[in-house]
């Protein structure tokens, strides 16, 4: 009965990966390394959360990585010029939000295909980041951001706390607010939402706007980790985010998706990358392994669906 909320196939993969790497990867199952996986996965989660909503509503955002890079460059440049952290973060968030709103308006109001629109904004954001920096890293960003990044509220690394906070906020919105219901409804049955008198286009644009905003905010963690802004730092990260969402069981149809699934997807990709690192597998092979992971998760999901639904249960 509960196929919509049951365990995604990726959960099984995650357990298998954890067991395999614990046995064969030297130093994998240690607390510092586990925390390291969390730290590495936190930026990805910040992108994957809004990506879940975008994919649930039959959309796509390819511009996230580039927007994140641009926001990081803006953040670092402002810090380098002596502006406060709050101002710099607000500017980064603003840059992200602007791109998100642009994506949303083009996709929703002009009814352009999201793939094409966000491929375009990817190019614009990436180009702007390179122009602003002349292709160089922005260094000398002061102490405030690195200090914040190194802080450990409740003994947990700042980036993990941030990602967990974002996860809770998204979960609350999806489960407890009207907006959350409307996001599911938008992907599942747009007509129903129109007839319910909801401003559907507004909700739809908001979903893309949140995608941009989260890309902007993620610049805080990325820039903090590198203590510098780099114009190509987050290149291709949107593909990891899409992979995480799909591995987590969200489909492009019917408004079917869960944030818990996406969290599992992010962790699975994080564990896979980290484990292969620990086992000294080359980075080129790591890219291939994510491809294998996505397909494996889809195969497991469809096999589970076939098992759960006995033949001929139409009536």
């Amino acid at each position: 009965m509960d196929s919509g909320r049951s365990i995604p196939g990726a959960a099984y993969l995650l357990v298998i990966l954890l067991v395999v790497f614990s046995i064969f990867g030297e130093g994998f199952a240690t607390l510092p390394n586990i925390l390291n996986i969390g730290v590495q996965g936190s930026v990805l989660l910040l992108l994957a959360l809004p990506m879940t909503l975008i994919i649930m509503t039959e959309g796509l955002d390819l511009s996230m990585g580039a927007v994140l890079s641009l926001a990081g460059v803006v953040l670092a440049t402002l810090l380098m010029n002596g502006h406060g952290l709050a101002v710099a973060l607000a500017a980064a968030a603003g840059v992200g939000l602007a791109f998100g709103v642009a994506n949303g308006v083009l996709v929703v109001l002009l009814e352009l295909p999201p793939f094409v629109v966000t491929l375009g904004t990817l190019g614009i954001a990436q180009g702007l980041a390179l122009v602003l920096t002349g292709g160089q890293s922005v260094v000398g960003i002061g102490d405030a951001l690195p200090a914040l990044y190194e802080s450990r509220p409740f003994g947990v690394p700042f980036s993990i706390v941030s990602a967990a906070g974002a996860f809770l906020v998204f979960g609350f919105v999806m489960k407890r607010t009207r907006l959350g219901s409307y996001v599911s409804a938008l992907g599942g049955n747009r007509e129903a939402l129109v007839l319910a008198g909801v401003h559907v286009n507004l909700v739809h644009v908001a979903i893309y706007a949140v995608g941009g905003l989260m890309s902007g905010l993620a610049a805080l963690l990325l820039t903090g980790r590198m203590s510098a802004g780099h114009p190509t730092a987050a290149i291709g990260l949107e593909f990891d985010a899409i992979a995480a969402v799909i591995v987590g069981g969200t489909s492009f149809e019917r408004g079917n998706g869960t944030l818990v699934g996406t969290l599992i997807g992010v962790l699975t990709i994080g564990v896979l990358k980290n484990g292969l690192n620990v086992m000294s597998v080359s980075s080129s092979l790591q890219v291939a392994s994510i491809g294998v992971l996505v397909i494996a998760a889809l195969v497991i999901d469809s096999a589970l669906t076939a098992l759960r639904r006995p033949a001929g249960s139409t009536a």
């Binding site: 907006l179 599911s184 599942g188 909801v198 408004g255 033949a311 001929g312 249960s313 139409t314 009536a315």
Partner: protein, 481 residues
Amino acid sequence: MVDAGTVHVLLGQNGAGKSTLMRILCGAHHPDAGEILIDGQAARLRSPADARRLGVAVIFQEFSLVPFLDLAQNIFLGREPGGKVPGTIDRRRMHAEARRLLDGLGLDVDTRTLAHELGVAQQQMVEIAKALSQNARILVMDEPTAALSDREVVRLFERVRALKREGVAIVYISHRLQEIFQIGDRITVLRDGKNVGSFAISTDLENPKNLENTANLENLVRLMVGRQVTMSYRERFCETPGEVLLEVRDLRAENGVRGTLDVKAGEVVGLAGLVGAGRTELARAIFGADRVVSGSVRVIGAAPGRGPAGAVRAGMALVPENRQTEGLALMRSVQDNVLVAGLRKLFPSAWYLAAKAARAASDVINRLQIATPSPARLVRFLSGGNQQKVVVGKWLAAGSRFFIFDEPTRGIDIGAKAELFHVIDRLVASGAAVLMISSELPEVVAVCDRAYVMRDKAIVGELKRADLSEENILRMAMHHG
């Protein structure tokens, strides 16, 4: 004009303008001229929110549920009871009120169930609960009983009568004429977007003889189609059936159904039973869509190959209940849809010849009189009755001889129904055989040469033409012990 506390029935063929009128009433469509009066005041319905504010609620025939939201979320979509923090939902209150509404309709399903996990009939009940939850003063129902079993219809009618007593005005659209006389106070017939007749139903409901006033029926049908149509659907019944086209012996399928039956050339054989008796499952097993555990299925004297592909090659065709998702590619043209199953036969050389394809498609379009401006029209834009014909046409082009029709008249109007039965009649007259699954007992009685009755996933009896009556079918379908 609808008075408070009455049920006003709207009748009309597909395309007569019922749906457009409904969409105007719910604010999704804007009228070019004329006005709508609510409580004697000109109402401006510019958006669904306007309609809701004025107390108009609509139950749509096309399901307006969201598959991955739970039942409470679906019922209150757009009207969620607010929590303490703005924008949040008071989930406890929402689920409690949803529970109360579903109890009122006799639907015993957890309100946290996701909508896509329900069957069609249950989804329809949720749809009704959704409209009731709006405390509407004007309730518009479009074929609310199309997917319901008789027991659920009784429940629904109890609710409708209660609403009438509370002073709710109801606009009721249905193709089931019996219902109209049971529940309606006035009837208006629409044709080509115009009101062609409106009169009170003066039937004495206590007198069962009046429930099916044939003269009245004929009048309504005549008004709807604008010409006289006869209520008899068959030119003549089959007295000397030909060879056995389908022979099923001691079938047991993985989905739990079992039975023995045969259908001969020239026959229309009914498969009757209550909702859940296993009719669709039996059809799926015969067609190879569900696995057969034991027993045999023979088509035109030979065992078909594996699966639906084998069934089709053997000359079998299934016209499914859910035409849109199972039988049609809505975004493709009439021609593409009509030819898709017959490509192998039409082009044995595997080369697609455009001229030959066009000829074959227009041949089928003419034979079935599919109302389409051109073969290139997307099937999505055809009316329900014509979509039905496209599904049948697909198998005609493939040269099928044994047809299974699963609830062929669901959601189509009387005019289209008559045409569909003429198509069936023509099919069997040309040497084909038809197995017809139907929940509409009057149709089984009016159309079939014989009927098998199912109960609890098994065939429990057979009725010859002479014994074929609604009472006999019901007796078999409900018998216990």
